[in-house]
């Protein structure tokens, strides 16, 4: 008997739906094995995680707090990935957005009427994120520089620049040495809607719908899809590749920049250490698990955020490492990637064919 993968006649819709669900289940089983090794009952642990993430209104709002930046950066990464532009730089774009928003909130107040400070911070923050994504995009289309390297390296530039600012020139003189800027004036705070969950949630939901519409229903989205699928065919059909990559990445950067704006104006209300806890990298997982679908990205972001919050809970309640949430998150990706094979292939068992009798070793001279 031999196992062969046979190409399907068409992409299986059932598989597209089932693969994420089954993968989630498999990842739960795999992590359960690990938990058992840690002498912890998996069922109780999962229950505690669920409890921690969704068990009460305050817990749920904390999950949303973490989900918002994941939604926004997830959307940014997803748009770039649709173009096969491997944007690993959402972290830096987010940080840059945060820096720019802090700049506006801290230093522009004397020149602007108070009601304009927050909108200006949002716009400038988005522009800064766009700029940070635009640099690698420009290098890619002009000089064919590998975007994986440039986007990744620019993350460090942005993060270290932020550090320089809150440790150095922008540091709060009354902060008792705490690495952070002074608190923003109150009119620059992003309104909260539930617990610490802020307006950013509304932005993310509206933008996800818009992204879905633009990617799936417009001429521009169609062009992005062709470029991502086959740039040579796109070129032959007269689609302007360089221009579309630039536009796509500016938008992607702006979305991640907005995530940064929301974090500093909605949560910490100052630029401080720990602006991002790796949202920009986790966004890659969000985009991938959502199969580059903006609507799915919203739900995946909530799920991943639940794993983060739930992980913190099991640490506090059961003494397990909080990284357990991250382990589950990592475990989630493997079966998913392996499973995507089944959308295009099916397994078939065939009988081994008779192998010709003469062995090659005998003939070797």
């Amino acid at each position: 008997m031999r196992l062969v993968f046979e190409k399907r006649k068409t992409r299986s819709r059932k598989a597209i739906f089932l693969v994420p669900l089954v993968s989630f289940f498999i990842s739960l089983v795999l992590t359960a094995i690990l938990l058992t090794i840690f002498k912890s009952n998996p069922l109780i642990t999962y229950a505690a995680m669920f409890q921690g993430a969704f068990g009460s209104w305050p817990n749920f709002t904390e999950t949303l707090v973490k989900a918002i930046p994941l939604m926004l950066t997830g959307l940014g990464v997803l748009i770039a990935f649709r173009l096969k532009f491997w944007n690993i730089g959402a972290e830096g774009q987010l940080t840059y957005g945060g820096i720019a928003a802090a700049w506006v909130a801290l230093f522009w107040s004397p020149f602007l009427p108070p009601w304009m400070v927050l909108p200006t911070a949002i716009i400038i923050g988005m522009l800064a994120g766009a700029l940070w994504a635009g640099i690698p995009a420009f290098l890619k289309v002009r000089l064919n520089v590998d975007e994986v390297l440039t986007t990744l390296m620019l993350n460090y530039v942005a993060i270290l620049f932020a550090e320089h600012l809150y440790y150095g020139p922008w540091r709060d003189p009354k902060g008792f040495g705490f690495p952070g800027t002074p608190s923003f004036p109150e009119f620059a705070w992003l309104p909260r809607i539930a617990g610490r969950a802020h307006m950013g949630l509304i932005f993310a939901l509206v933008l996800a719908l818009l992204a879905w519409f633009f990617l799936n229903r417009t001429r521009w989205g169609f062009e992005l899809e062709v470029i991502g699928n086959n740039p040579s065919a796109a070129q032959s059909q007269g689609i302007k590749i360089a221009k579309n990559i630039m536009i796509g990445l500016l938008i992607a950067g702006a979305l991640s920049g907005l995530a940064g704006v929301c974090e500093v104006t909605g949560i910490s209300r100052r630029l401080q250490q720990g602006l991002s806890i790796g949202y920009g990298y986790t966004a890659i997982i969000v985009a991938w698990l959502a199969q580059l679908n903006p609507i799915a990205a919203i739900f995946v972001a909530v799920l991943i955020a639940a794993l983060l919050v739930g992980g913190d809970q099991v640490q506090m309640m059961m003494g397990l490492p909080a990284a357990m949430g991250l382990v589950l998150q990592g475990m989630l990706l493997f079966p998913m990637l392996a499973g995507s094979l089944f959308t295009e292939y099916k397994i078939r068992f065939i009988k081994q064919t008779k192998i010709a009798n003469a062995s090659t070793e005998q003939l070797a001279s």
Binding site: K7, R8, K9, T10, R11, R217, T218, R219, W220, G221, F222, E225, V226, N229, N230, S232, A233, A234, Q235, S236, Q237, G238, I239, K240, I355, A356, N357, A358, S359, T360, Q362, L363, A364, S365
Partner: protein, 545 residues
């Protein structure tokens, strides 16, 4: 070129025979007695929708050079890939030195002394020649003695005059040098049978001559070689025997000395016409496309088009014949805006379009069926409907203020699927799940539908079965009758003679001649493709080697 160069080319082969001593008569006697070093019997290889090899036999004796001649898609490469262990035959047997062999991998093939130089070299750019040569060898010590390896390479390269420095890096080397490395790699590993897949396609004439000398040095030591080609002059210059394949079948076996280019050309293309198409007399209208001394360079910076002038009128089909690599690719690219010209003028409907963008040229009413349909023609991970809409999505009614109208796209797709009889489960199926013929129909449907004046078709029936081929040809004729000007590039001379009104033969970036198709016969075209100028009825054979 004059006829003077003919004897010298011939002399190479004659010398090769005489070098092997008094082989002539005695050689034939020995040949019949000794078992062949390689024998392939009844090899059949099927791919989805196409039979690549159909009961093909092959025989090779020690010290011989065999030429496999055939058009693209005739099954030469797949036959050799079976021998080299890359494919497995569905039927048939292989005997090496009289013993049946089971070749499952390139490693098995190498163990049996069979090595192949592929058309695209399999070398690792950032590594040295010596490293590449020993790469993947099984009997290496953990830390190979590179000094000894280099010395051995020097010794071999001396003996076969394959000049290469073992310590230089692959990416420093020219294509010709890289090919020498490939050959050295095989000799180093003890190959007795060398397979060369279109070895001269990438070489300059001088390099080709050198390669010829190398092959003869090897055969004089008892090694043998098979080389794949579709160039007549190489068969004459290189080989002892020639086997001609056509559409997967073995057509004939000839001693090279006992045949001539004319005969081979005819055999390669296939003597009989398969189907006659209904070609009504068309009255050509106004010129649609005019080329005035167009020049262009290829990716390596070498001249690819050396001054092409021609015009096509509406309702006319101009066929372009020629062996691949004589400028066809670049011609299509300059016409569609993918490559800049270095001189001359391209006019479409009287408007200069040289060096305009692809979109501007599409807006002039130009459609193009690309030569490489998977690489340029479709987006495999998008639906059939999206692929069909890929040209007209810019215009209403499919789009309104930038917003697409999915149901109208679907309607359009359904109509095209019906009209062109595209066999797809649904319009939403991803294009890559379709067969080659149906993918070609998608492209054809899209390009013909969007065409407003000029259709450029590069090898539109390549790799298609008889039915699909006929369909494609009929579509082109219908389009011409409707007033479209068509530029048809093909290697299938029969296609050109039956479909085109005039045939231009492209050779080394120039038109060597333009004939009305009713004056063109396959033999005459075959000779022109090989670079033989036509002076009335005087057929001078001037090989380019």
């Amino acid at each position: 070129m004059s006829s003077d160069s003919h004897p010298s080319a011939k002399r190479l082969t004659i010398n090769a025979y005489s070098e092997r001593g008094l082989l002539g008569f005695v050689g034939n006697q020995i040949r019949d007695m000794q078992p062949p070093i390689l024998e392939m019997k009844g090899i059949t290889k099927r791919f989805p929708n196409v039979v690549a090899n159909d009961q093909v036999d092959l025989e090779l004796h020690s010290g011989e050079v065999l030429a496999l001649l055939g058009e693209n898609g005739a099954g030469k490469s797949s036959l050799m890939n079976i021998l080299a262990g890359l494919y497995r035959a569905d039927e048939g047997e292989i005997f090496i030195r009289g013993k049946q062999a089971d070749i499952n991998s390139p490693r098995d093939a190498m163990r049996l002394g069979i090595g192949m130089v592929h058309q695209n070299f399999m070398l690792v750019g950032p590594m040295t020649v010596a490293e590449n040569i020993i790469l993947g060898m099984s009997d290496l010590s953990f830390i190979p003695d590179m000094g000894a390896v280099s010395n051995r390479i020097r010794e071999l390269s001396e003996r076969y005059s394959l000049k290469v420095d073992p310590e230089s890096y692959i990416w420093h080397l020219s294509v010709g040098e890289q090919q020498r490395v490939e050959i050295l790699k095989l000799i180093y590993r003890g190959a007795e049978i060398l397979i060369l897949d279109e070895p001269t396609a990438v070489l300059t004439p001088q390099e080709s001559k050198d390669l010829n000398a190398v092959i003869h040095q090897m055969t004089s030591e008892g090694k043998s070689a098979i080389f794949i080609t579709h160039k007549m002059d190489e068969v004459i210059a290189f080989s002892d025997w020639v086997r001609v394949l056509n559409k997967g079948r073995l057509v004939t076996v000839k001693k090279t000395r006992e045949t001539n280019p004319q005969e081979l050309a005819r055999l390669m293309v296939g003597r009989d016409v398969l189907f006659r198409l209904e070609k009504k007399p068309r009255v050509p209208g106004n010129p649609v496309l005019e080329l005035q001394n167009v020049q262009a360079i290829d990716d390596k910076g070498l001249p690819a088009l050396r001054g092409i002038s021609v015009h096509i009128c509406s309702g006319e089909i101009l066929g372009i014949a020629g062996v691949a690599g004589n400028g066809q690719e670049q011609l299509v690219e300059v016409l569609t805006g993918l490559r800049n010209t270095t001189g001359g003028k391209i006019l479409i409907f009287g408007e200069e379009t040289s060096n305009k963008t692809p979109l501007e040229i599409i807006n002039c009413g130009v459609s193009c069926i690309p030569a490489d349909r998977i690489a340029r023609g479709i987006a495999g991970d998008m639906s059939v409907a999206s692929n069909l809409a890929m040209k007209c999505y810019r215009k209403p009614p499919l789009v309104k203020k930038g917003v697409l109208h999915p149901s109208r796209i679907l309607d359009l797709a359904r109509r095209m699927i019906d009209m062109f009889r595209i066999d797809t489960p649904t319009p939403q199926t991803h294009a890559k799940f379709l067969s080659g013929g149906n993918i070609q129909k998608i492209i054809l449907a899209r390009e013909i539908d969007a065409c407003r004046g000029l259709l450029i078709a590069a090898y539109p029936s390549r790799g298609l079965d008889v039915g699909a081929t006929e369909f494609v040809r009929n579509q082109m004729i219908e389009q011409a009758e409707a007033g479209t000007a068509i530029l048809l590039i093909s290697e299938d001379l029969e296609e050109l003679v039956t479909v085109a009104d005039r045939i231009a033969v492209l050779f080394e970036g120039r038109f060597i001649g333009i004939l009305p198709s009713d004056e063109a016969d396959i033999e005459r075209l075959g000779l022109m493709m090989a670079g033989v100028k036509q002076n009335n009825s005087d057929l001078n054979y001037a090989p380019s080697l």
